[in-house]
């Protein structure tokens, strides 16, 4: 093909792909246009790949084809077979793959410029450095997040003395190396950048270390923020790659991803009442005091049987279900859906109240309930449903804790004071399904459990709810 026409085709393909990505994401603003939108985005991706394969720079296809085949062989089962319950882990590990690809591109480009007279120049060197920095820290950060979500790394915050100081030192060292690289290596080896490879390698290693130290101190319940933040970093790395190689489609797609992670981080930090600066510097989770603001001494809970719970739920007219991470752990979403259907059949109304940070990633509860066939117009956000608790007969809390704690509203000494919560305490009666009396992630007592109107239904959410379902059927 004539190289000029080939180059034009590549450009047109990339422009069409950019438009497809933007329109595809726009489709995600409504559930009924979402699927069509994502198909459009996938077509855009295909077009961009085909366009790239026609690039005149490419002289051999063997390695490309091998990579595409192996990648498809791994990606297809990952996409088709991973259960919905493993979605947080799956998102974390895919962030790692993405960051890995971007980092390799950064390193390969840097090494390539060792052979180019004049080197990468200052601007490209800045981009290459940032790409590799963000990419490398996202690799290890996502891997640690993956480990915490999968359970082979403790979900509890891992903290050691002087941690913040060491983190800051490593971070400053990495930035210093980048500045030295920009000063010495941007004009190529001839300009005295002989140590460039060593410095670049060292910077990459430090960035890998930052990823680990950034995520280790963060506890399981803060994972929605972490995953969003890593998502944003992965996008920024891809965008930097676009700057480094002068490719606009990378800049556009990376910026979209970066913006998405950024928006989600803001939403998640708002839902946890943390400042965005607090989130941005990854300082969250570390300062938590495990001390109970209020002692549970002298307070008693009121425990009921599954049969008893079935009576109350079965005859309720207006039920609001509050799912939390406990429901995901017990995989109780199908039992929950069955119970909801039964109540509806008996003439009651059932709605679900989903707190933004319930679970381990943004939207976690929604995906699980959708998988269990709960229609999405039964799922409500905090703002939509909070006034409705007043009119509700039974609020059924399933494995949620801190997001229902009234102390966030009325106890200024509580560590979670100010965090928006679901007004479960306004319901006429409250039933809490819970494994035991352990405190939630924040390590504080939940006054809700000690209210007169609250009944505790202890046990594994799945088996307890199955019993309730059987009992309601027998009413």
């Amino acid at each position: 093909m004539n190289p000029a026409i080939g180059a034009l085709f590549v450009q047109v393909a990339y422009i069409a792909a950019s438009a497809a990505f933007i329109l595809g994401l726009r489709g995600l603003t409504k559930p009924d246009t979402a699927r069509r939108g994502m198909r459009l985005a996938a077509m855009g991706m295909l077009l961009a790949i085909i366009g790239t394969l026609l690039n005149h720079e490419i002289i051999s296809y063997e390695l490309i084809i091998v990579g595409l085949i192996i990648g498809t062989a791994i990606g297809l089962p990952l996409g088709l077979l991973v259960p919905m319950t493993a979605m947080p882990q799956r998102i974390a590990i895919s962030l790692m793959f993405g960051a890995f690809a971007v980092t390799l591109v950064g390193i390969a480009e840097f090494l390539h410029y060792r052979d180019v007279p004049g080197g990468p120049g200052v601007v490209r060197m800045v981009a290459l450095g940032l790409e590799t920095l963000f990419g490398a820290l996202t690799i290890t950060g996502s891997f640690v997040a993956f480990g915490k979500l999968q359970g082979f790394i403790s979900g509890r915050p891992i903290i050691f003395p002087g941690q913040k100081l060491i983190n800051a030192a490593v971070f400053i060292a990495a930035i210093t190396l980048l500045i030295i690289l920009i000063a010495t290596a941007s004009n190529g080896p001839a300009a005295g950048g002989d140590n460039g490879v060593l410095l670049f390698g060292l910077m990459t290693v430090l960035a890998l270390a930052i990823g680990v130290t950034l995520v280790l101190p963060i506890g399981g319940a803060d994972m929605p923020v972490v995953v969003s933040l890593l998502n944003s970093y992965a996008g920024l790395a891809a965008s930097a790659a676009g700057f480094a190689i002068g490719n606009n489609i990378l800049i556009v797609a990376g910026a979209l991803d970066g913006a998405s992670g950024f928006v989600l981080s803001i939403l998640m930090s708002k839902a946890m009442n943390r400042s965005f600066a607090n989130v941005l510097f990854g300082a969250f989770g570390g300062e938590k005091v495990a001390a109970s603001a209020k002692s549970a001494e002298g307070l008693t809970t009121h425990s009921i049987s599954a049969e008893d719970a079935a009576m109350r739920i079965g005859y309720a007219r207006n039920v609001i279900i509050i799912p939390g991470y406990g429901m995901a752990v017990a995989q109780a979403q199908h039992a929950v859906r069955e119970l909801a259907e039964l109540v509806e059949k008996r003439g009651g109304r059932v709605r679900f109240a989903v707190h933004p940070v319930a679970g381990r990633m943004p939207g976690h509860m929604n995906v699980l309930l959708a998988e269990a066939n709960v229609p999405y117009d039964h799922l409500f956000d905090l703002d939509e449903i909070n006034e409705e608790f007043r009119a509700c007969d039974v609020a059924l809390v399933i494995g949620a804790n801190d997001v229902t704690n009234p102390a966030a509203k009325n106890d200024p000494s509580s560590p979670i004071y100010g965090m928006p919560i679901l007004n479960v305490q306004d319901a006429e009666q409250v039933i809490v399904v819970k494994r035991g009396m352990a405190t939630g992630f924040a390590g504080i007592e939940n006054e809700l459990f000690y209210l007169k109107k609250t009944s505790m239904l202890f046990g594994d959410a799945k088996s307890v709810l199955s019993q309730v379902v059987t009992e309601v059927k027998g009413l």
Binding site: S18, A101, E109, S239, I245, M361, Y376
Partner: protein, 131 residues
């Protein structure tokens, strides 16, 4: 209203992408226009795309936040495009191999990401279907 603005910005982004030449190599940059010119346009592209993304994504309901993460992750695997060039262009073998590994990792995300997003979105139904 915001959606109109977002769409307009999207169009502007695409137009600028067109104006700046979707794919400039370092060689192109040194022959056509100065390096700084090209990179100023790249900064425009970044800002407009980021702003467009911000506008659109603030309107994605919490209901679809997980599919959103899966989708943006698949889209950002566009780094596949860069990996392909590195794997297949005339460079030392070890750089080509790094490119091939990057192609593999990015392809995992492209394929897996779009498939799983579709699988998730398929589950979101308004009324329960039969079976």
């Amino acid at each position: 209203m915001i959606s109109v603005v977002a769409t307009a910005l999207g169009v502007a982004t695409v137009a600028i992408t067109l104006a700046s030449g979707g794919f400039t190599t370092s060689a192109d940059a040194s022959t056509g226009g100065t390096l700084v010119d090209v990179q100023i346009v790249e900064i425009y592209v970044f800002l407009l795309a980021a702003f467009t993304g911000f506008q659109i994504i603030t309107k994605v309901p919490p209901l679809l936040h997980t599919p959103l993460m899966a989708a943006t992750n698949a889209i950002s695997a566009i780094s596949l495009v860069a990996s392909i060039v590195i794997a297949g262009s005339e460079r030392p073998a070890y750089i080509n191999i790094m490119g091939a590994v990057a192609v593999t990792a990015a392809t995992i995300n492209v394929v897996g990401g779009f498939v799983i997003t579709d699988r998730m979105l398929k589950m979101f139904k308004k009324r329960e279907g039969q079976g």
